[in-house]
Symmetry: C2
Subunit: 216 residues, 2 copies
DNA sequence: GAGTGTGAATGTATTCACAGCA
DNA sequence: TGCTGTGAATACATTCACACTC
């Protein structure tokens, strides 16, 4: 049976598997253990992840590289191009616009929004910039389903609300603030300061654990 | 008893609690329910998170704002300044160097490394750039404990290895590739392409779920 | 009475272990 | 024999519910 409900954490790893498969040129087949080694996980986990979505392997042999690549692309929805809207064309926003990796993976930032009048109406890295009040109109017109928020903290919730009413279905938020969205919108946090804070915590905590171990 | 082992997921939320406490100017006391509302979680979870680390509240009243702020800062190790090293001073790296939010939260990128000869020896946004072969020497000299990796995929593992042998204890990796580090080094992924891929997956998947529901 | 601190119950993800097929 | 697919067992995280304190 394939009907086990798939944890989203599996999706995170699927895209890592996919990247490795894409790099494989010669081999026609790969085992779960082998694939696991490149991602830093276990064969069991690879098999489990894949088995949530179907039966792609050949017992006793492994997985056909090209076939598996195709299947994972389908599962993740990567056999197409995604258009994306960006609010906040500052330093970080511009860097994202110029990042080739997105385009290579089929993610195209097509339109930018910012309140700074000196860039409105211009193109930044080839992408036209509009005032945020145009968000609903432009996004509906272009049927854009993904948004990126790279504005200062105090404008973040507002930007997200605009995306939501425009029908955006998934949002990546870089602003260092807790924001909310309706449950039918996928909201992902890319809060870099938060990441550094967790790093700080784990350094501190590791030191504490070691001390405790030494004492006891 | 305070001795419940604390999940790391609690640490992620602690930093969100802290941000809200910092913004509070007038109130001297706050209840778990109230704090929860701003983060988009439940009072029970706030209390649980805090109770992993100690007893900070007053039964029947709530938590003293300033005291709780101080305690969380201590737990996360944010009552100090962290020096950080950055490998890869390209578009994204430069944007990170120029990002004020880090400095405001006590994270200081002090030194950059890149292979591009036209920026080696110069300062980018006030931060000196060196060749990566200098990583071990410079990092040990300056006792830097955190690193950020913003290089192209094929140079990522190499950069991480250099950080590891230099004694860096926590690394934030932006490269879109699966990398590994010894278990005593905290490795965090800020793989933006991966985030977009997960967004793609959840849009596709949501559509599927809806169809299924409609049918059944 | 209002609100914390925390066991117990539930839900979710990971790991184990092995039957069964090529 | 080698490797997949997958139940069962374990570990981990969240939510519930309430005794207890100020």
């Amino acid at each position: 049976m394939t009907g086990n409900k798939s944890p989203e954490s599996a999706a995170i790893r699927l895209s890592l598997y996919l990247r490795h498969l894409r790099k494989m040129k010669k081999e026609r087949v790969i085992s779960s253990e082998e694939l696991a080694r490149f991602i830093g996980t276990s064969g069991a986990r690879v098999r489990k992840d894949l088995c949530y979505f179907g039966q792609f392997g050949t017992t006793g042999k492994g997985y056909l590289v090209r076939e598996l690549q195709e299947e994972i692309s389908k599962i993740l929805g990567l056999n197409r191009v995604w258009d994306i809207a960006l609010v906040g064309v500052g330093k970080l926003g511009s860097a994202l616009l110029g990042y080739d990796g997105f385009r290579k993976s089929g993610f195209n930032i097509r339109i930018g929004f910012d309140v700074k009048s000196n860039i409105i109406g211009k193109k930044i890295v080839g992408v036209p910039v509009y005032h945020p009040y145009q968000i609903p109109k432009m996004i509906r017109e272009r049927k854009i389903r993904m948004g990126i928020v790279a504005v200062p903290a105090k404008a973040a919730q507002e930007s997200i609300d605009l995306f939501v009413i425009s029908g955006v279905e998934a949002i990546l938020n870089f602003s260092p603030i807790a924001v909310v969205a309706p449950s039918y919108v996928k909201l992902m946090q890319a809060d870099l300061t938060n990441q550094l804070e967790i790093m700080s915590y784990s350094i501190i905590n590791k030191a504490k654990k070691e001390t405790q171990t030494r004492i006891s």
